[in-house]
Amino acid sequence: MKLAKKLLLLVILSSLVGILLIGIISFILTRSALKKSIGNQQLQLAQQMMDKIDRLLYERYNDVQTMAGDETIENFLSAAENRTIPIENTQSTIAKRINDLSIVTGPWDDIDVLDMNGVILYSLDQTLIGKKLDRNAQDFSIYDHARNGATTYSDAFVDSDSQKPTVLFATPIRDSNDPTRKIIGAVVSHLSWPLITEVLESVNGPDIDLYNRDSQEIANNYDSSAFFKEINTHLNKAQVLKEGKLSSVSQDEEGKQIVSAEVSEQGFLEYKGSGWILLMKQSPATAFAPAANTALLSAGILAPIIILINSILFFILLRLLHPIGELTSATKHIAGGDFSQRAPVHSQDEIGQLASAFNYMADKLNELYSNLEQKVKEKTAELEKEKAGVEQKVIERTHELSYEQARLQASINSLSIGYLMTGIDNQVILINNAAKDILTLSTKTAKPADRANDVSEIRDKIDMQFVNTVLRDKVDLLAQIEEAKKRRAIVILKDIAYKMLFLNLYISPIVNKTTEQVIGSVILIEDITEQKIIERSRDEFFSIASHELRTPLTAIRGNASIIQDFYKEEIKNPEVQEIVNDIHKSSVRLIQIVNDFLDVSRLEQGKLEFNNSACDLLAMSEDVVKEYDVTGSRKKLYLRVTKPEHPLPLAYVDKDRMRQILVNLVGNGIKFTNEGGVDISFGQSENHVDVFITDTGMGIPQENQNLLFRKFQQAESNILTRDATRGTGLGLYISKVFMDNMGGSIVLEKSEIGKGSTFKVSVPIVTPSQVAESTQETHV
């Protein structure tokens, strides 16, 4: 809330509170003051009244004595006593006298002159003249006292004859002529009650009640019918009588709050009164009405004063605070960027100081800001320059990159092998045309111009299509990519059948050398379909070729053999025999050549399988020797197997191939030996079984020894100077390759021209697990 409003609220509140407080306080103060003063006032008034009554009564008391002392009355009585003067005379004289006296002293309700016998000799009330006071009469005792010499008075009572309240005063009449002053009669006078009530009625306002000794109300100033009826029990009689007066605020007989003043009769001199109590009472409202009035008055007077003062203060304060508002608006300006704003300084007080300080701050800010602006301008210019430089560099780099990109793309497009580069998330980054061709097939038929160089449209297709297709071939490409990435090594997938193609996949991870992070992969897709086809057709070719070659060769061999075996009679002629033999030998040789060619070709294709098993070389050797028995004996050569000293361990070899090797070596031995024979012996090393094939043949010249195991190689490199008798020259080469594949070796142990040669074949010893394997094999 704004300060003004606050102040206003404050002002209003304080005014109200002030007025209220003042009103209340003045009311209270006035009231208590009034209480006292009214109390006193009342008391004074009551006392005054009571004094009046006292004096009144005292005067009457005296008056009756005065009357009793009157000569006329004296004479009247004496005369009556002595009967010297006729009563009629005296009566009119006394009547006149008493009338005069009563006027002077009165008013009296009644004055009675009585003799010593209680006879009323004269009375104002003419009817009473001559009557004798009854002993029981109300006034008898008073008369009696008086006739006995005491001036007395009575308490207030209601005269039964007149039905009026009165007080009796009686005094003796004495004979003044008598030296003893003998009492001759009495005067009894009745107080006229209005005298009393007059006094009471002289005061307006408070109710005044007069009570006799018995607390009976005998007079008041408001209701004459209440006289001599009620008894007021609430009078503080004891206290009043003791102290003579009492002012209090108490409750009356009806329970109402009253401010009262009670005064007791004091009397004068001999007249001591009858112990009356005068009660003056007012309601507090009427008593204190002035207080309320005063309160209202004071409030009413002070209210505008307070309001005025507060208003003045309010406006003063407002004025004082105005600078704050100015300061606030100046602050806002500055906050908004307008550093030119300054706050007006109106004074040197705290607010003024604040304003000055503010202005100082504004100055400083302005300075700072302009400095800053300047610096920023400079920096911006610098940055702009740098930015331009950087932008330039970026443009250059981008150009370079695009060149690189183009070069890369061109390079990979030139490859005939499919090239695919993937990123971290296996998205396709680069792909060359060869890959697209392989993968999409259809583009092979599309014109080069139609081929999209833009990868994007094919990209998704390749991802999904490829994966799905490859999956069908039981290769999960994405998994393989992950494998390559994980192993950080190339993963090669061979012979993947994809649509109508055969593919080799080479998946290589791309490792960022600096961060050691795998950032993607390169996939090479090799279309080996043609190769496969060629292979297959080559396979077929060889199968067919070998079959086609062998069949006629078999016919030649077989028929020649049949002639030799079954038609001996028909070829008795040795020439014919030789011819048939040559025919037979030729066919055998040819068959061997065909076999060798087939083996070599398959070896070179890596097609030959080796089924290794546990093999008893001794038994095999004996078997081979048996086979060559005929051939050997024909040449008169021995063929023997030298049994080893210790039992030969089983060898782990391909039985067929091993046999082939032994056959080849033994055959060679026989071929190149004319005298002696071929011996097979055995040896053993840590892991190998050795078979030695020793012949006593012509030996092998040094220069040929190195070339022994090569294809077709003979020392003379000239093809025309080949020694064709040496066979195709493939046998040893094949044997060597076989041995390589079986984990063994074949070497020329020694050879001497004219002495012979020893070949050593070493094969691995079978391991126990291999033994177990072998026993499960089917025998071919």
Binding site: R550, N559, D565, N595, L598, T778
Partner: protein, 129 residues
């Protein structure tokens, strides 16, 4: 006399074997293709069937299957005679029930005879006639 059934399409070959077996005291019948051979087997009831592999229409292995599938013919022993030196074929043939797989070009006719004789002796097969 033992009855031999030779299923072979090439005259060069069957003429030769015919000669060999006849001269050696065997009775030999020739069938020039697999289907004919199969039929012949049923009626001729040979003691041994010699089966070539490379034949038109139905090749040796197919013929073998057929023979082994037929109640009548399945128990006739079969030797495969081939000039294909294909190990898988050999294993396959043996698995299909052939007793031996012989490469023709490797054996003299005499040797084949002795192999057959040995086979009959070992398996106690007596001539059916």
């Amino acid at each position: 006399m033992y009855k031999i059934l030779l299923i072979e399409d090439d005259p060069l070959m069957y003429r030769m074997y015919q000669r060999v077996f006849s001269l050696s005291g065997y009775t030999i019948e020739i069938a020039e293709d697999g289907a004919a051979g199969y039929e012949k087997a049923k009626t001729y009831r040979p003691d041994l069937i010699l089966l070539d592999v490379m034949m038109p229409k139905m090749n040796g292995l197919q013929t073998l299957e057929k023979l082994k599938a037929d109640e009548v013919t399945k128990d006739f022993p079969v030797f495969i005679l081939s000039n294909l030196a294909n190990k898988p074929d050999a294993i396959s043939a043996l698995q299909k029930g052939a007793k031996k797989y012989l490469i023709k070009s490797e054996y003299e006719p005499k040797e084949i005879l002795s192999i057959i004789k040995e086979f009959f002796d070992e398996n106690h097969i007596s001539p059916s006639t």
